[in-house]
């Protein structure tokens, strides 16, 4: 893409993946994520993206994630996007991929509530995303964009990290960001990738047999494997990313990610115009969570207000970071409702 263009977040993710050198995409429609596969279906065969060789609509998210697993096992760049109910179905394949050390990228466009919920924006998949939503106690690197520009640039970052750690990476966006249209700057386009894929199952590559497997029947071998995975999670902590705004002299620091961090930015500006010393701390990686960076602010006695679209999920991580050193308050909306700047400022005044 050249020049500045107006794109929806979900479309930007598609272009970001193509520019990262996406090889294979496996789809199952679900609102509000479907513009991603629709964009990719449209661009399939475009000579601008010679690496993009497979687009396939599966019969379910179970099929889609396992196709992703198969394609990624060959060392190809594979991706699948979905929204909350579909994300639940994908947990099985994600857990296997972690156990097998197969890298790929998943996108979850968070929508409302448990069950079918609704199509409105929520951030209620936070714990599922950051704690390893499937079985077996695993971790994903979780990236939380808050703009269409980041929706464009994060797929490349996600593939870099996925291959670096041989672990799936999740981009956690939401119903608002997915539909949000913004004018964005073009990225570099990529041609092929040079990730290390010496582990890939490509048919005895270099005369060596490759087995991608998550089964270790003997206790010692299973323990060794899980400790090896754990060591990777520890290494991943080096990838922590966050953004700070006006925190130095702040009395209250808003803690928020994704779309609500955008509202918080406006609140900080408006608040400061009205004499309130507010700042913003925005985790960009939800896992690894920027515990130590946030704990510095907590230790300085700044009050923390967690703004999120659920009944209180990231607040658990914020409280871990604060570790009892300061007051942590919450502001939550649900079902597609979002807090306004006025709501946030009213709460801040209450806290002072």
């Amino acid at each position: 893409m050249n020049g500045r263009v107006l794109l929806k977040g979900n479309e930007a993710i598609a272009y970001g993946a193509l520019e990262a050198g996406l090889n294979a995409y496996f789809a199952y429609p679900i609102t509000p994520s479907t513009e991603t596969p629709e964009t990719l279906a449209k661009e399939f065969g475009n000579s601008k993206y010679p690496d993009f060789k497979v687009f396939l609509q599966a019969a379910s998210e179970l099929e889609a994630i396992n196709m992703t697993l198969g394609a990624a096992s060959t060392g190809d760049l594979a991706m699948t996007a979905t929204s909350s109910p579909g994300f639940s179905l994908k947990q099985e394949g994600i857990s296997y991929a972690v156990g097998m050390e197969v890298p790929f990228v998943i996108v979850d466009v968070n929508r409302g509530g448990p069950g079918l919920g609704n199509l409105g924006v929520e951030q209620s998949d936070y714990l599922q995303a950051t704690r390893g939503g499937g079985h077996g106690g695993y971790k994903l690197i979780v990236l939380a964009p808050n703009s269409v520009q980041e929706m464009l640039s994060f797929p490349k970052l996600a593939f870099d990290l996925a291959f670096k750690y041989r672990n799936p990476v999740l981009i956690l966006s939401d119903a608002f960001l997915g539909q949000l249209k913004e004018d964005i700057a073009p990225n570099q386009s990529a041609n092929g990738h040079n990730y290390d894929i010496s582990w890939a199952t490509l048919g005895m590559k270099n005369g060596q047999r490759h087995v991608l497997n998550s089964l270790h029947l003997e206790s010692d071998s299973q323990e060794k494997h899980e400790r090896h995975l754990y060591q990777k999670y520890v290494q991943m902590r080096n990838e922590v990313r966050f953004e700070k705004m006006d925190t130095d002299d702040a009395d209250i620091v808003l803690v928020s990610y994704g779309i609500t961090s955008r509202i918080c930015k406006s609140a900080v500006k408006t608040g400061r115009e009205n004499g309130l010393r507010i700042g913003l701390f925005r985790p960009i990686t939800l896992n690894p969570f920027p515990y130590s960076q946030l704990s510095i602010l907590a230790n300085q006695g700044k009050k923390l207000l967690v703004v999120e679209l659920n009944t209180g999920e990231m607040v658990e991580d914020v409280m871990l970071a604060a570790n009892g050193t300061t007051r942590v308050e919450q502001m939550n909306r649900l079902g597609g409702n979002v807090p306004t700047v006025a709501d946030i400022l009213a709460k801040c005044k209450e806290m002072i």
Partner: protein, 271 residues
């Protein structure tokens, strides 16, 4: 030919390069071992071992990566067809196949099984139909006969409660996708002979041919699905000999072997 030991067996029959030489965990008298060896021999004979990815399912076939000397991906229970599609679509130059149990392919994985056939993915499925869940200790499978006793049907499978057993050849025959649909028998046939019981290897040798045919179909770009009837003497609670009789006298009557589709004429004129 009477073979006394494993070593002698290997000298007489040769060790296929397709076998890693790891001793198998299969129960004595089970045909999972026969199937593994036949596949090893065929992929070696066809010269495709080094361009093959086997996708392992969940069931007694799960440890195939220990035995078959090629690349492997161990898939979640029932998802081997989807994983195969991911591999084959991105790398059409690879031979991609799986061995699935009847529980894996026909219960938890039925959606994936049918859709791989509908989309005519150019991959190969070898179904090991032993009418039971072997690995988990003998529960009812989609192929368990009405009246058959299993640990979850202790009074016999009840037609009213659980419906009819699945005939996957009939189901897949309804779809246009598959190029090759074949049912064969993996077990040697017990026959009465002058000096007592004997086993005839005819069907086992034919099974080898069928495996080769299935791979040839894949090489020509077609989807091949082979259902092999096998035993599970341990969970059928039978002796090895009884299990072979049961397979031929009961199971093979319900699931008659034959060619159900041969679009490419691999076994003769196209059907």
């Amino acid at each position: 030919m009477m073979l006394q030991s494993v070593d002698e067996y290997e000298t007489k029959l040769g060790v296929p390069e397709g076998w890693t030489r790891t001793p198998t965990h299969y129960c004595p008298g089970c045909e999972h071992g026969i199937l593994t060896r036949l596949i090893a021999t065929v992929i070696e004979g066809m010269g495709i071992r080094e361009k093959t990815v086997m996708v392992d399912s969940v069931g007694c076939s799960v440890l195939a990566y220990e035995y078959l000397n090629c690349d492997h991906i161990q898939a979640p229970h029932g998802r081997a067809p989807a994983v195969m599609a991911g591999v084959k679509r991105t790398h059409p130059e690879l031979t991609v196949f799986t061995v699935q149990g009847d529980g894996d392919a026909l219960a938890i994985g039925l959606l994936g099984t049918i859709y791989a056939a509908i989309r005519a993915e150019p991959v190969t499925v070898f179904l090991y139909n032993n009418s039971i869940y072997g690995m988990t200790g003998g529960q009812m499978a989609p192929t368990t006969a009405v009246g058959q006793v299993t640990t979850t049907t202790p009074y016999g499978r009840d037609l009213q409660k659980t419906g009819n057993p699945i005939d996957i050849m009939k189901i897949l025959s309804q779809t246009e996708g598959p190029s090759y649909l074949r049912r064969g028998i993996l077990a040697p046939e017990p026959v009465e002979a002058k000096h007592g019981m004997m086993y005839q290897a005819k069907n086992v040798l034919q099974a080898k041919k069928i495996i080769e045919n299935a791979f040839k179909v894949q090489q020509k770009g077609g989807y091949s699905f082979v259902e092999f009837l096998g035993t599970c003497n341990v969970n059928w609670k039978m002796t090895v000999e009884e299990s072979k009789h049961f397979l031929y006298d009961q199971v093979a009557k319900r699931y008659p072997p034959g060619i159900f589709r041969d679009k490419l004429g691999i076994e003769g004129s196209p059907k």
